[in-house]
Amino acid sequence: MSKLTRRQVVGSGLAAAALTSLPASAQAGPVRIAYIDPLSGFMAPVGDGGLKQFEFECERINAAGGVAGGRKLEVVGLDNKLNPQESIVQLEKAIDQGIRYVAQGNGSSVASALVDAIEKHNARNPRQAVMYLNYAAVDPMFTNDKCSFWHFRFDADSDMKMSALTDYIKGLPDLKRIYIIGQDYSFGKAVADAAVKMLGTKRPDIQIVGNELHPLARVRDFSPYITKMRAAGAQAVITGNWGNDMQLLIKASSDAGFNVPYFTYYGGGLGAVAGMGKSAVGLVRQITEWHANIPDIGMDDIVRSFKAKHRELDYYYYRVKVMFDMLSKAMNDTKSVEPRDVALALEGMEIKIETGMASMRKDNHQLIQPLYISTLSENVKFDVDNTGLGFKTDIRIDGPATSMASTCQMRRPGA
């Protein structure tokens, strides 16, 4: 003690004073968003890629002056190991730290657990309400029967995407026999059900020659499935597969010389094109809200600067950009970072984005934005996975055309 100088004593006293007044100073600190997604285990690359993009968008908003009168945004990565229980633990951890915004995207099973937990938390603690930013969990349930005032989805749900895909298929009269294959969990089932239902009404002449679910992230060699598809006489395949399951499926298909069109959700997802290689050119089509080769919409510099920062990754989640833009607009307009105010401002918000207009539906909190169907091609400006291959637009679907009826009956706070 005797060694302490007077200056140090005064300094520590000041520090103690600063600590006791923490709640007041925390108010002026950054607005934190908890990113709850897999950062370890089998799907870690996907979760990690998402986090990098969140941080990128966050820096962009901060560089442009922050939100609600100069406050910064900050992303806090929390690892949920793609496990619903673990996600709840991470959510509680976030809430304990005073975080009021939660983002998640990978796995509708996880999303389902989070929607429930956040509803309960907000009912019990209306003054510490938490808002849920869903950037990729596309089970239609979250904007229908299970909708929540606190949940906002920035990706088109699997029904909206399937509707666009089946509209496209409607215009391919030669296609008569389609095979559906997907991952065996809620999302894979939702894709298959939507495909069967929509093809049934739009193209009753198309025969569904196979409807198969395989275990999620467990199949190493898809050749047996390809044998089955060929035996069934499939002329095209519809799949919602993502991650390794996507790559291996296409790889087995091209190895066997089974060159039929694939209608996919995540054909351009992380690592998929690297796994598929050249054989997938012209055959793999994907439905997304954006891809890098849409010409002249002012995204090229952003794509390049992201690539300069993360050589291994591609700018992929355009919807995360839209999400940050809308979130910061809501915070700026209301001059509040209180989730309730922000949520009310987001409802019905309409903004101009690079691909057209984006609007947040008030009745079910589903973002309406243009969608693109694109095909894997050579000779593109921006490639995927550093392969030299990338996507080219087949058609663009205007936002309003993707909108679908909803069964959501939303309970608003205080109503």
Binding site: F42, P215, S223, Y225, T227, K228, N244, L248, F258, L313
Partner: protein
């Protein structure tokens, strides 16, 4: 129908042979040293990554030879400076040690090569279809893999059963002191066995990585099934591992190919399950990845020493 049977057999044998390439190294190490190497699938992963990196400089064929050597060398280092010291503390310590190595290798791979899959593919000459049956190509690489696996089986079997080296290795297991007194360096023999086992895993990786996907999860996805093969085949039996690999490969492939539900199967045994119920709607294809583990459980209950295992425990 014929088409499905032929291709399912081919695919099943192919998958079985890949499993065997992995399981043979594990079996070798286990039968000779009594060490159940949890990190075996990690050496498989290393094989793929090393082959990718070397291959980008030297081409695939040189990498095919060099990568297993590198992995074997790494295995020798692990044995010499790690496992050998842990050995005296018993089997639990050994298990935990190899478990730790598996974890370390995964993290190191992520640090060096990143978390994303690598664009590692077979050389163009092997990517061409070797033959076409009923319109389906069969790529040359798949047949090449079968040839390598079978050559590996024959070479290993001949080495152990027909050469002096094999004699010493086998004797070192049961009578290490005696062999030592005869002037052989027993620790060196063990190190050699461990290195060869790892090199075999590495070779499987060079081929498996190009056939499937090279990513940091590849050890995790194949690890458990390799243990199933070794246990079902009989701990320490090379022939048993071969039979069990092919068996599991075929069962899994045919389970996918057969378009039947669980209720169809149960009906054969007189158990009626409505095909509207959740249980009845499950197809055989959906339970395919579960079947090896079901076989594992059955084997452990009814024939604990495995199909061709020599020992009771």
């Amino acid at each position: 129908m014929m088409e499905t049977i032929v291709f399912s057999t081919l695919n099943g044998v192919l998958y079985g042979l890949l499993l065997f390439m992995l399981a043979s190294g594990l079996t070798l190490i286990f039968s000779m040293m009594g060490v159940l190497n949890f990190a075996h699938a990690s050496f498989y992963m290393l094989g793929a990554y090393v082959a990718f990196t070397l291959g980008s400089v030297t081409g695939f064929w040189v990498a095919l030879i060099l990568a297993p050597l590198v992995v074997g060398l790494f295995g020798a280092v692990v044995e010499r400076f790690g496992l050998r010291h842990v050995h005296k503390n018993g089997h639990v310590a050994e298990l935990l040690f190899t478990f730790g190595i598996a974890y370390l290798i995964e993290e190191i791979v992520k640090l060096i090569w990143g978390k994303n899959p690598l664009p590692y593919t077979p050389p163009p000459i092997l990517q061409q279809p070797l033959f076409t049956l009923w319109g389906t190509h069969y790529p040359a690489f798949r047949i090449f893999m079968m040839v390598v696996a079978i050559a590996m089986f024959v070479a290993l079997w001949a080495l152990l059963k027909r050469t002096r080296v094999g004699l010493i290795v086998q004797a070192s297991l049961s009578n290490p002191h005696m062999v030592g007194h005869l002037g052989h360096n027993v620790p060196l023999v063990f190190m050699g066995v461990f290195a060869v086992g790892c090199a075999m895993a590495g070779l499987a990786g060079v081929i498996g990585g190009a056939l499937l996907v090279t990513d940091p999860a590849m050890a995790l996805t194949l690890g458990p099934i390799v243990f199933v093969v070794v246990v079902v085949g009989g701990m320490g039996s090379l022939g048993g591992a071969f039979v069990a690999s092919i068996l599991i490969g075929l069962i899994q492939t045919f389970a996918v190919a057969v378009d039947a539900s669980l209720s169809d199967l149960l009906a054969r045994f007189g158990i009626l399950v409505s095909n509207r119920s959740d249980l009845g709607r499950i197809t055989l294809a959906q339970v395919a990845p579960m079947l090896p583990f079901l076989i594992l459980v059955l084997v452990l209950i009814f024939r604990p020493r495995g199909l061709m295992g020599a020992r009771e425990s």
